[in-house]
Symmetry: D3
Subunit: 223 residues, 6 copies
Amino acid sequence: MPHVIHNIRRPDPQLIAALGQLPTSTIHEAQGHVGAMAHTIRPVYPGMKCCGPACTVRSHGGDNLMLHKAIYVARPGDVIVHDGEDWLESNVWGEIMTTGALQRGIAGLVTSGVVRDIEPIHRKGFPIFSRGVSMKWAAKASLGTINHPVVCAGVLVNPGDIVVGDDDGVVVIPLDRAEEVLAQARAREAREVTMMEQLQAGRTTLELLGLDKLLTQLGLTEE
Amino acid sequence: MPHVIHNIRRPDPQLIAALGQLPTSTIHEAQGHVGAMAHTIRPVYPGMKCCGPACTVRSHGGDNLMLHKAIYVARPGDVIVHDGEDWLESNVWGEIMTTGALQRGIAGLVTSGVVRDIEPIHRKGFPIFSRGVSMKWAAKASLGTINHPVVCAGVLVNPGDIVVGDDDGVVVIPLDRAEEVLAQARAREAREVTMMEQLQAGRTTLELLGLDKLLTQLGLTEE
Amino acid sequence: MPHVIHNIRRPDPQLIAALGQLPTSTIHEAQGHVGAMAHTIRPVYPGMKCCGPACTVRSHGGDNLMLHKAIYVARPGDVIVHDGEDWLESNVWGEIMTTGALQRGIAGLVTSGVVRDIEPIHRKGFPIFSRGVSMKWAAKASLGTINHPVVCAGVLVNPGDIVVGDDDGVVVIPLDRAEEVLAQARAREAREVTMMEQLQAGRTTLELLGLDKLLTQLGLTEE
Amino acid sequence: MPHVIHNIRRPDPQLIAALGQLPTSTIHEAQGHVGAMAHTIRPVYPGMKCCGPACTVRSHGGDNLMLHKAIYVARPGDVIVHDGEDWLESNVWGEIMTTGALQRGIAGLVTSGVVRDIEPIHRKGFPIFSRGVSMKWAAKASLGTINHPVVCAGVLVNPGDIVVGDDDGVVVIPLDRAEEVLAQARAREAREVTMMEQLQAGRTTLELLGLDKLLTQLGLTEE
Amino acid sequence: MPHVIHNIRRPDPQLIAALGQLPTSTIHEAQGHVGAMAHTIRPVYPGMKCCGPACTVRSHGGDNLMLHKAIYVARPGDVIVHDGEDWLESNVWGEIMTTGALQRGIAGLVTSGVVRDIEPIHRKGFPIFSRGVSMKWAAKASLGTINHPVVCAGVLVNPGDIVVGDDDGVVVIPLDRAEEVLAQARAREAREVTMMEQLQAGRTTLELLGLDKLLTQLGLTEE
Amino acid sequence: MPHVIHNIRRPDPQLIAALGQLPTSTIHEAQGHVGAMAHTIRPVYPGMKCCGPACTVRSHGGDNLMLHKAIYVARPGDVIVHDGEDWLESNVWGEIMTTGALQRGIAGLVTSGVVRDIEPIHRKGFPIFSRGVSMKWAAKASLGTINHPVVCAGVLVNPGDIVVGDDDGVVVIPLDRAEEVLAQARAREAREVTMMEQLQAGRTTLELLGLDKLLTQLGLTEE
């Protein structure tokens, strides 16, 4: 198989737009509690959000050669998802690459590694989800893959899967489940809005979720 | 003993109001360098503050059944203090529970676990001190205790103890020491204001704290 | 050798002013990928910056006696650089010390330990780079050194070396290399501005950095 | 209250001898899944075991003055249980203290800190459960408490509580529950022996523990 | 899809026997530097080894219900590979389950969680690779999957893939690559034996691996 | 300066032989509580020991090109001390390199990185002190330095400094202090033997170290 694959299946842009309106936590529940990356993947500054099809990259820890290439393999709207192992002392992305990525219309970066130049990147409005920050340099020495399946922060990501990030972290939606997950997530969102109205009106989660009954079954005693 | 205890001793609300005006670091010093939770317990966003009597909860890691119950055992003004071990990959609290807690007048949450929905929770103004953030789901499967003594982040917390949180972390004041600690903390606060005025006027901590003398005793040499 | 050395070589203030305009990541690259502290050293709040000659301090973990002394050994504009091992549960610096340091014109603190009173310190505008936050108390019991060479967060720091911190972390420039590093960093800065303009105009890092050629040499295959 | 309390209630030596025969994991289950210290507390070498009443010590991180005193407050057969916070870079115990402790008949040490001289200590047969190993020195500068309640590695330990350690970690049995826990643990041990015989004879845990029924209830599907 | 899949493709037993003779590090190199689990997965005691087809299990952190089931889904010679997230404070496997597994001829366990009863398990000769040890109890409350693809410690594992563990960690060989990897690994093993003989005879890796030439190309200077 | 320096000052072999008889903890105390590497540097198996002059190596994390070169720069009896940052997921040393190193008479390896092939290396009797174990591959792509000063695990190491490792960790003795440290360490060793005899005869550390007096001065109260 070639290192780089250019043509991948991508989801309908309307689907992406719709999923990008939903919180990651709701999506994660809607698809059955799978697809959430490890809690160590965080937005570089609070408030960052992204949603788009994954352009997947795998490289050796601390080597960003394939990420440079990926900027020119990804399509506008893509989120680059990078499995760079968990090397926290050399960054794999900075302001130069951000400039290239913004010019190409790339929607964000998710990396199991770390990044630099976070202040100017934040100012330019490019969302990054990573394991932290380091100014130390990246090597540019070894090949990896682009648009092959990768494991990033504990989740299998296929190229074209939809990646959504916000302050709760990053969740991955398999391309073939995207329509179903959107429907489930919207239904759940609606139920939660209703439930929050009921709670504000004085009802309880014990009653609404049947937890009172469960507590009784488990033998809860009170005094 | 029953799992849940409803009637606990609580401190005088004026005492709570007064302690809530003081920095946690000052309270910690005032009570003799005890009662500070581990430094890994942080506000979910900078700037969060809370102060109130502890409604204590113990549950198995990643199981939030007892926390749902606690929302309806706690009284207005209470801070829920949750020993959920140090499981960082499943949250135990989110927006739904926050909505219930705010409706009931609960003053905040301190948990040794992690939480989700942090952006809407922040917007709604509910203070949370936790070990981090994860969107992954909580189980609702096993009993624990409410208003029994718990150990949370290294500190023994009895129900009704006063819990104070700010950007320096969380400190716990035993109910019976609260008056004395308040007095000591205010005295210390006053001394520190005076000392800072003296420092601004050019005096030194070496002189004001007797450190010059101590350094000489220890045999400090200079050149 | 005496514990405390008062007279150290310091860089030209204009050099410090010039280096303080540059991002730490650029300085790190400009001096050949050395001098960056471990990624665990972070600003206490995002946005903090500092630049100045190092007044170096070494003490036993969790003991801040020598830091009190250092406030009165450091000169206006100095950054105190403190090797206090990696003890995260007792702070070594707070509001009182900050007040003294600001009165003395000290430019900031870099410590491998942790600090308290971060909210008022932030309000007063004193930059701190540390391994975290803890309200727990410091001992004042043992001697250390001031203005001897120290190792802080993995980097050898000599007194008078220039220390620069921003959201990417902290980098140390040896005093004798400062002029050369400034020149290199400015040249790099200029090249990066040009490169970013070229990227915005549609050119690629693959072309500008010769990465296309490198990928071909390494045998990259595409489809 | 005085810093040091000499007279504490201790369990019957026969009870201690009997509990010392049982695995920590069985004791932990027998007392209802409470009392296990954090998994970070490990024997210094595999195979170490201890069992005895707790002589509890609290000190500032990295300060072992109170541990020296504790060697002469503890009684033969006691296990010293030390809350020294989680400071991993300065030891609180070494060969000298071990020599004193062995001469006094002390049964072992459990500390939330770290120790040195582990090879000679191992040779002399003194069991230690700790968070690791460091050769760095301890301070001897501040008071703490002996035979007051402490929190060690997440567990409340009262003086005289029974502390048991083996390769699975450390568990604490409240003095008043010791008889009951022994009975439960022996019953559980017996049931487990029987169950392991049944398993060796070809029966399954699915059947013996009713898990088949539970899986069906939860809706398990197979193919 | 059903939760549990009974019939999976398995490799030829001779292939497994042959791969079990090879070091994990050699296999990892032979298949192109992929398939190694995170370095945090370690044998419970030094010297443990296992090799066999994966029976894959996924469960919620700290819940071992599906692992009980897996003992009776796996076939003799299988290695159970368990994605239980990275929850270090509740074990998912102990002596009872080991007894069942040994009776069924299971070849070992690899889990991203932790285990208990390690001393008797070691005595009985059952190899386990895990993230650590904890005596704390597992829940038995929620469904997961058996013989679906899982991600364990950063590696995608399909049922029937070959899993090999030794003191260097755990590596996974995709079923379809097993023959090829065996051939490559044997060739590499042979080359390494030859190279070690040459080194013992006084030749150097600089010469044998062409590193002298590479160093010269990169511009190495010596004095 | 050239990347590689061949001629360095080395200590007298008799000095090395004498220091190699002493425990690291005693040496660390004898030289005034400096020179101990971070506690995360551990022998790969318990019981490993080494002592020799440092041949210092610096390289980018996960790149072992310079270590290959160092095998042929180091002299018989040297310990290679490697600053490879704290990258835990790619090894920098294995059996091949060990074979070369043993043939050259090298006395051991201390690295801030990780290693592979630990079981055969252990069998061949080569001592390694590292941050852990990983089978993942090293890059051979970038230059570093040999026999320049390095910072390894928090300690400044100059070429020719004496490096001693045992189960308590690794300590570094500056070449110019070696004679004095040996004398102090022997004196301390003698004092400790005497003190342990006195303790076995029933005297106490409280008396022998003057701690009783210190406790009284600090105001200790007993009951």
